[in-house]
């Protein structure tokens, strides 16, 4: 497979079955550094499965995934996990913060796991929390903050390692529109400032409107609307 010139992450012809369910049926994807691409489509169409394959979390049954010239499918598990920690960031709809840790400890966690000292990690964590306007709740635990605040903490945690690709699966799905939009503004601003590529899974058009372009997934097949029109 030859990826489009300049692309950071490219997938072709992905198939993935769960028992009798064909979650992906020939889906493709491509993203450039600094680009925000929305993955749209109805519930159950295969959006999350596509994201999990692209991020090396779930292996596809067939098809290829090239990240920065390397094939995720043939890479060793150890190398893939290392890549996820160093190059990828993740934001999900909910349930991703460790309830026993304070917010600032949560944000610092990925750096701690990479071997950064506690002091250095928490300094960087606070800087990211400031950008996401939640530095005032650093000492609180996730159970003590609002949904919107918790989601901003999760975004800060995803960005603290300055990943080259941010994977966001319905990041505003549990928020009201005002909070959801602020999270999208902050998330896309922060990603653009570090030239991170963002894979944004959403079924909401107003969230997708923060992207540069969209692909549509239906019945496990993807359609790149820019190339289609």
């Amino acid at each position: 497979m030859t990826p489009p010139p300049g692309s950071l992450l490219t997938a072709e012809n992905l198939r993935k079955a769960y028992g009798p369910t064909l979650a992906l049926d020939g889906a493709g994807f491509s993203i450039h550094p600094g680009e925000v691409v929305a993955v749209m489509g109805p519930s159950g169409s295969g959006k999350s499965t596509l994201l999990h394959c692209l991020a090396g979390i779930v292996p596809p049954d067939s098809g290829s995934i090239l990240y920065d010239g390397a094939d995720l499918a043939t890479m060793s598990d150890a190398r893939r996990s290392a890549l996820r920690r160093s190059d990828f960031g993740f934001v999900f709809q909910f349930g991703q913060l460790v309830p026993e840790l304070t917010c600032v400890e949560n944000v610092a966690l990925p750096l701690r796991l990479n071997g950064t000292s506690r002091k250095e990690a928490e300094r960087a964590a606070l800087a990211w929390m400031q950008r996401l306007e939640v530095d005032d709740i650093g000492r609180k635990r996730p159970g003590e903050v609002s949904g919107g605040q918790g989601q901003r903490v999760a975004v800060a945690r995803a960005l603290v390692t300055e990943p080259r690709v941010l994977f966001a699966d319905e990041p505003t799905g549990a928020l009201d529109s005002l909070n959801g939009e602020r999270v999208m503004e902050l998330l896309t601003d922060a990603a653009r400032s570090t030239s991170a590529a963002v894979v944004l899974v959403t079924h909401e058009a107003r969230v997708a409107a923060y992207s540069d372009r969209e692909i549509v997934v239906r019945d496990g097949k993807s359609r790149d609307m820019e190339r289609a029109v």
Partner: protein, 174 residues
């Protein structure tokens, strides 16, 4: 909504008389406002003049309602272009979009494709408004939000319709 394109689309499945066209139109699209005969005949004479339909036969007895119309190749191309071109996003589009989807199903074209193309067009405008909102003051934000919510409502309708295409096809193509 374009009556000309709709009548043309109805002719794709075979030649029809004017009164037959009116009946088909009213049944499928004219629930709240049936066509007048005058509208049918003025539309058909315009289509005839533009070469999009031709007279396929005339029943004895005279009068315009006796003409049987058939679509021409140029007419088929015209319907195709209309269906493939997304509508400019604006409020109260649903009757046009509904007509396009039903006609696509009737003529065995890809109705999901029309919806995808329209979604892309709506999103294009929503990106512009979102960007304006980000850079604007509170007044800009509120004005853009109003437009964004309307566009979103259109899109939700489109998604719902896309999810029901199989059912709609059963009802329409009977």
């Amino acid at each position: 909504m374009s009556i000309g394109h709709t009548l043309l689309g109805l002719l794709e499945s075979g030649p029809r008389h004017g009164y037959d066209l009116k009946r088909a139109f009213d049944e499928k699209f004219g629930h709240d406002r049936p066509l007048h005969y005058g509208q049918v005949y003025s539309t058909m004479s315009r289509l005839l003049k533009n070469g999009l339909v031709e007279v396929d036969g005339i029943e004895p007895g005279g009068g315009p309602e006796r003409k049987r119309y058939a679509i021409t190749d140029a007419g088929v191309t015209d319907v195709q272009t209309w269906l493939a071109t997304p509508e400019k996003p604006e409020p109260y589009l649903q009757s046009t979009l509904y007509t396009k989807v039903v006609l696509a199903l009737l003529t065995r074209r890809d109705a999901a494709d029309i919806l995808d193309t329209q979604r892309a067009e709506h999103l294009r405008l929503m990106r512009i408004l979102t960007d304006r909102k980000r850079k604007g003051d509170l007044a800009d934000q509120l004005i853009c939000d109003h437009a964004l919510f309307h566009l979103e409502a259109d899109l939700r309708w489109l998604e719902l319709t896309a999810a029901r295409l199989d059912k709609l096809a059963e009802v329409v193509v009977k």
